[in-house]
Amino acid sequence: MADDLKIPLLEELEKGPWPSFVTDIKSVAGKSEMAADLLRQLEKSYEDKRGYWKHGGLVGVRGYGGGVIGRYSALPEEFPGVSHFHTVRVNQPSGWVYTADALNGIMDIWDEHGSGLTNMHGSTGDMVLLGTRTEELEPTFLALTQKGWDLGGSGSDMRTPSCCIGPARCEYACFDTLALTYNLTQEYQDELHRPMFNYKFKIKVSGCPNDCTAAIARSDMAIIGIWKDDIKVNQEEFAKYVDSGMDVQGIVVDMCPTSCISVDGKTIDIDDSNCVKCMHCINKMPKALAVGDEKGAAIALGAKAPIVDGALFGSIMVPFIELEEPYEELHDLIERIWEFWDEHGKARERIGEFIERVTLARFCEEVGLDPIPQMVTHPRENPYIFYEEYFAEEGEGSEE
């Protein structure tokens, strides 16, 4: 089968030091005609400089509206192995942690029911099983659920939440990112599996302002760890950094964005009332400095890529919220946001675009957030204010 693979252009991608996806796909092309035809179709794309996939199609597993992306080759006669090439999104465990046995179990399923190709992982966070036929979807789903796995989201639903490794391996974590992500995923299974929103809603969870999941840029709701009190200082360890010859002045003091660090010999002093929790000093001296004790998260809404109305970063809606199980305050907030967006948003309008359209002031009012200076880089510059309160002459009837 795979002996007749003629893919000279792709084989150029087997050269060089970086791991080659071509070599890798070839390694399964012997046992998977899907993988072989994928290479053949891709070779044609490389020749012709264009893709050969049809616009998606509605396929899925029974009772779910999301989790499977339909994909069909535009050249099914030429490449029958990829005439169907649907994607199955498998909800990853919090923090992308696995054991060899668990992963091998999924690989067994995928060798039996699919192309043998995956993405580890997709942009949203799911484990992506890449390429299978419509009739294999139910059996794949059944095999996965028997081993304790379930599908992730797709379409206009809550997309699979994802998080950083947080407290499982990082001293910077300001809350339990893994537990919260697991909680939200379980709490909102219906919203995850049955698309009912105006558009997608992504949640990403990072344990500190280093934001390893890129939540501030890639998620409609970014939950990012922060602390309120003082950076914890270990002066002994700080002295060791100085003794090691580290340019503490240049690398730490001078690079603090608010100039709130001073160093006197081997002693460091931080004016925490002016610290903006940027993480720079802590990142540079993890043994001497640590995040404080009063920990929680900030919540930013609205990040997205350009489609439709331009790219956005998340905007801070809640500068600090404590995140302890059972997370009732957060669930409440999420549900109020969804309700307002659901009722007043337009089709294909992400929450970030929605907030700009209805205005931040109205959004805050509707979901019950107080306007505070932490929400803006500066107050408005234009005087076009929609005043709502004004005095009226006595007797003109403006009683409360």
């Binding site: 991608l13 264009r50 998606g56 465990p93 934001d211 993480m279 331009g310």
Partner: protein, 358 residues
């Protein structure tokens, strides 16, 4: 056969705790500090001991064979524990320091580079491209491969001024943090959709299609008695929004599709606030299989940055300090009319002071 097992739904993902190395479980939430042992090797220490992490590259598009190779290493040296990062790296986790070199050796045998930590170029966040997506203007996996072949030494060392994050997306949908990476490679279409009037009335909802266009370039029209749409080509910016909702409006054009390059984005809050990427090179041709124009441009950016930035200055921070004028001077990239924004809030990008360097 499928009928004798109960069909389960909405069970959600397995609980992560069963996948945590015992040392990670014991130190959960109690970690004290970490150390960088070598490029690609970290140790994290808590009251209950130390866990060593070896970080390896993956092509992201990975076969079951590749993953079995990874799980074999995890079984041999990590009691079975491994994880993946948000940038498609594989991480091997062990509490035995002596296993670090064995893991590295096993990876070297498979020709898989170890690195991506601290001031390195980490693995590339990327998308599907011609491998699997209908709207791709280029191939993502191929671009990642040729660019990282060129930059592999920056992955396995930590010699750059600061960490450097690359991303590739194959169309403006940008599945991946392309709009906030140090260097982003973005596939672009440059011609309006070609409307298939024979299928459009059946496949597409007219109001949705009209509403999909951010520039109001689409209007309903009638051809041979059937309602379809027309595109005001002067208003079209080739964004592909219409194609997302209407399969009869493909934009792919082998002659004109290609790649743009963007720089200076960042996610973390360290020192400066998160930044969007900005346009460096508006168009380079699709030149598979090895896209030499693209690898040259990316290499140029990395080299100039490496030579000129101060320690721990991210690419965007460096450009902010030296000015965009100097960035174009140093890289030799041409500054064109395409660099002048003309979409929403374009005015906020105009220079409104005399503070220029002469």
């Amino acid at each position: 056969m499928a009928t004798d097992v109960e069909r389960k739904t909405d069970i959600g993902p397995p609980h992560y705790e069963q996948f945590l190395h015992p040392v990670m479980k014991a130190n959960y939430g109690k970690w004290l500090y970490h150390d960088s042992i070598a490029p690609g090797v970290l140790s994290h220490t808590g009251p209950e001991g130390t866990i060593y992490t070896v970080r390896a590259a993956s092509p992201r598009l990975a076969s079951t064979n590749f993953i079995r190779n990874m799980t074999k290493i995890a079984t041999d040296f990590c009691d079975g524990y491994l994880r993946f990062t948000s940038r498609n790296n594989v991480e091997f986790l062990t509490d035995k320091e002596e296993n670090v070199d064995k893991i590295k050796a096993a990876l070297a045998e498979l020709k898989i580079p170890v690195g991506g930590t601290n001031n390195a170029i980490s693995n590339v966040v990327h998308t599907q491209g011609w491998v699997h997506c209908h709207s791709a203007a280029t191939d993502a996996s191929g671009l990642v491969k040729v660019v990282m072949d060129e930059l592999a030494d920056y992955f396995t060392s930590e010699n750059l001024p600061a960490k450097t994050r690359l991303a590739v997306a194959c169309c403006l949908n940008m599945c991946g943090a392309v709009h906030a990476s140090d260097i982003a490679i973005l596939g672009v279409h440059r011609t309006p959709p070609v409307i298939d009037h024979s299928t459009l009335p059946n496949l597409c909802e007219i109001p949705t299609t009209v509403a999909s266009c951010p520039n109001n370039a689409i209007k309903p029209t009638s051809i041979e008695g059937k309602t379809t749409v027309k595109v005001d080509e002067d208003k079209c910016m080739y964004c592909g929004n219409c194609f997302t909702v209407c399969p009869s409006m493909p934009l792919s054009d082998p002659l004109n599709d290609g790649v743009s390059i963007w720089v200076g984005g960042k996610i973390s809050n360290a020192r400066t606030e998160p930044m969007f990427t900005k346009l460096a090179v508006p168009y380079l041709p699709n030149n598979p299989p090895r896209w030499p124009e693209v690898t040259d441009a990316v290499k140029k950016i990395v080299d100039v940055y490496a030579a000129n930035a101060r320690p721990f200055e991210r690419l965007g921070e460096w450009i902010d300090r030296i000015s965009w004028a100097r960035f174009f001077e140093l890289t030799g990239f041409e500054f064109t009319k395409y660099h002048l924004d003309d979409f929403r809030w374009a005015g906020t990008t105009y220079k409104r002071s005399l503070q220029n360097r002469y």
